[in-house]
Structure formats: C-alpha cells, structure tokens
Amino acid sequence: MKSLYNYAFFDEGSKREIRRASLKAIAIPGYQVPFASREMPIARGWGTGGLQVTLSLIGKSDVLKVIDQGADESVNAVNIKKLVGKTTGVETTEETERATLIQSRHRIPETPLREDQVLVLQVPIPEPLRFVEPSEETTKRLHAEADYSGAYLLLFEQIMRYGRVSTGADHPVEVRDRYVMAPSPIPRFDNPKMDHSSALILLGAGREKKIYAVPPYTRVVSLDFEDHPFEIEDVTGRVCRQCGAVDVYFDELVDEETGETFFQCNDTSYCLARMNAEADR
C-alpha cells in the first residue's frame, strides 16, 4: 500500500529537529530541552510528546510496543500503535522482550529493560517545581542555580498534612546529582527502575514542548528527607488473581458479582506472559 504520508508521519526536517533535542537531552541528563512541538492528529495531552519522540526515532527494523497505564489494549495505546504502524509499517507487539521501542504512559514495564531497548514516556507536566512556582522564567533560573527547595517544600507540606509523603505518582527525582526531574506520573513503585536503567529513557511533553532524558546507567535518586526516607508503595500480601505474581504493581478491582476486591497485575503483558508460560508447562 502506498502511504500518502512521509515515513513516520513527519517530514525529515521535523524528525531531525526532535532528534537534535533528544540528543541534547541525553547529553544533559534530567535537563528539559525545549523543542518545537508539532500539531499531531491526536489532541495535546494525549501523548503527543511521547508520540513525537517515538516517530523521530523509529526505524524500519524497530518493533514497537505502546502501553497506556500498564495496558497494551486501551484505546489510547491502540490508536497510537495504529498511527505509527500505518505511517511506518513497522511491526508492533505486546511482548516487552520483543520490543525495541516502547512508548508508555505512566508505567515502566515489570520486565527489566535491556540495553537495546528505548523507553519513551509521555509527560503531562515536565516541571517538578511548577506547583510552587508558576513562572517558567523563574523555574528556569531555579534549575540553573540548582535551587530545589520548592520540590522539597511540596514533600514537606505533604508530611505536615498527611503524616507521610503522599505523592501518588510523579515523585520527583534527582538525576546524576544535578537536575531535579519529574519522572512523568509513574507510581513511586517504578522510580527505582529508572536508577541505572540499562535502557535509554526519553521523556516527551508535547503540550509543554519539552524533551528530557535519563541515559542508560545513570544515577537517579528519589527526593526524600533524612527522617522520611523514600518508600515505594507497599504491595506486601498482594497476589495477582490471574497469574499469582507478587511484588509487582497492582490494580485493585472489584468483583461485581461477589462485591469482593481483588488484585491484578497492572502490567497486562507481564501478566499474560506469565499465564502463557504456566499453560505451556
């Protein structure tokens, strides 16, 4: 089939500009590089940042996987996969191991990533200081001077209010002892996976027009206080009802018939792989 679009939707100049921003982002880990975010056939705030990074990177030999909050089959993930598939003809997959390029919204897969894989995260608000400082000019200056008291202040306020750090997602991290970065709204459970990750992690914010990155094997530390150390969500005692997995990030669901609550792997492809392996045995 002859496509009416250039390969990977964008013209070559656009792809080059996004790649250049990505390279700069990799060179300065955690630093938000501004880029000329394009109009996309999906609305801003629906993953356009991640999508643009993906389209600029994807090659003929790539295998693409798209995750939406852990699920491969949600509308958003399917739409993005279809768009990239139609404009590039690359193979798409749901298996984390087979993918070379993984675009994800709000999760890092349970299966450990490898050096030959790239993870692209979609970011709604790339600025970790935005909730204390509304002005972009000021936050840029704060980053330049490495003044991150605002990020700590947000955590302090949570402790004052709730007795503990209560970030449900997007818990700020310090990258390579310099820039404080919003890891995108991944659960705290996934923050440690960023530290010394084998795979390159690129983060794209389409509406806010920023790209930033965590290069492979880079130190990523979640912000905390001496007497309130960083903690991931407690998943002890929880078991996936479908595959029996423990120590993964769960969805809590309600059985409509019995009214009981139960847990299930949030990462659907991980869960499916475990069930298939069980069936093969």
Partner: protein, 278 residues
Amino acid sequence: MNKIVLQVKELGKRFGEGCPRCSGGDPTALERNYCPACGTVYALSDVSLDLFESEVLGIVGESGSGKSTVLNCLYFDLEPSGGEAFIAQYKNGNESIFSGSGQTRRYIRNHVFGKVYQNPVLGLKMKFSSLANIAEKMIAAGNRNVGAMENRARELLTHVSIPHHRMKEAPANFSGGMQQRVQIAKALSNNPPILLLDEVTTGLDLSVQARVLDLVKQIQRELSISMLLVSHDLGVVRMLADRTIVMLNGRVVERGLTDQILEDPQHPYTQELVYSLL
C-alpha cells in the same frame, strides 16, 4: 564600639536609561527624583549607611522616597544600578555582595538576611501551611530533617503567639496581624544576623501593632539581631530605632540618633515630617 555588620556604599537604583542631562549625578537636574528630559526615575542615589551589631537602624521618609527600594536591593529582589554592600559573612567583607553569582546571593539571602515584607503575600506562600512556610527557608538553607524543622517551626510560631492548633493552617486563613507574625517567624528561622523589616506594622490595628512591635523589641534584645527598620510611622521608629536616617527623593537627607532627629530636626524636610506628627 560595636562592629559593623552591614555597610552600604553609594547604592543607586535607576529606572530608565538616563541621559547626558541627568546621569552626571547633579540633583538640580532632576525634578524630585525624575528627569524631565528622558523620564528616568532615580529611585536611589548615593545611599550609604552602616549597620552595627545588634542595632536597630530606622529609615523614615515619605512614600516613594526609596525606603523599601533599599531593602529590596539588599535582599536581591531588585538589581541595584550602582553601589556596593559589604557583610562580614561574604568574603570577609572585602567584596560587595552584589558581585556574587545567583547561587551566592541565594546563600546570603537564606543565611544572613531575614526579611519581613510589608505585604505578607510577597513573603509567604499563602496556600501552604504555616509550618511549611517557615520550613521553606530552612530547606533552602540545606536542612533535610523534617522532625528538626517542624520542631523549630513550632518553637518560632509559639514565640510569635500563633496558637498550636492553627500551625498547620495556611496563612491565607489568617488575619493580617497573624500573617505578619508568621512572616517574622519565617525570617527568624535560620537565626539570621540581619533582619530587614519593611513597614511591619502598617495596616495593622493598634493592639496588634503593639504586639508586633513588642515582639520585634523582644527578639532584638534576646537574640541581638541587627535590624534595618523601614517605616513612615515616626512612633514606631521612636520606639524601636537607635539611629535613624531620613530619606527624600531617593537620597539620605539627614542621619543621626533617633532622639536627636525627632527632637531637633535640621533638614527642612525632616522638620516638616516631625511637625506633621499628630
């Protein structure tokens, strides 16, 4: 003789480019502090002052005379257009604090100075709890221990008579006087040697005013902090300040012991100011 903790030399702040007519520093070229030829405003010209250890130095003058601009420049809220300021904590007082980088300025702001703004909105984060507001300055100074910061914040808030059960509340819910007291507690959090007070009592009712003044006096006596006190209220200055300088049109027109200035003013403007006192 006490030692000097802050020395300001020929501080200037200009809004506008200046022109050949007005930039020579000749006061007669200006209409008050405004150049009629090019529209430049000279908010501060040649302001020099010394602040001694545990002394309260009052700055009085009419509105628009540049009182607050002095404090804003010292606290790095405004970039001065000329002049120098020296403190013992920065390069042993050998280099002007205005020559420092953004980071060293931030350090000086967080460790050496505490500031109470006339408008609490500028000095506080209105939506954050009072405890967090006070912790902010300690966090900025590098403290990373929640327990220690909370204890210190509670101690300070008790000191400024904020009731225990309201400490977790946001200053947005407080009265003006309470907000001002939270600001004072915040300014004191890192035991700064120098406190900059900008019209601390303006707009407060008399009983609250008295309590805030009492607090300032008490802090000064107990902690021997040096203070720059800006006010247009001569009563406040008479009560608190050891020495006073009088500003007019961005210039210092008179300086001396507070009693001396209030009882025997020399400059015509000071005379007018003192005799306008009801």
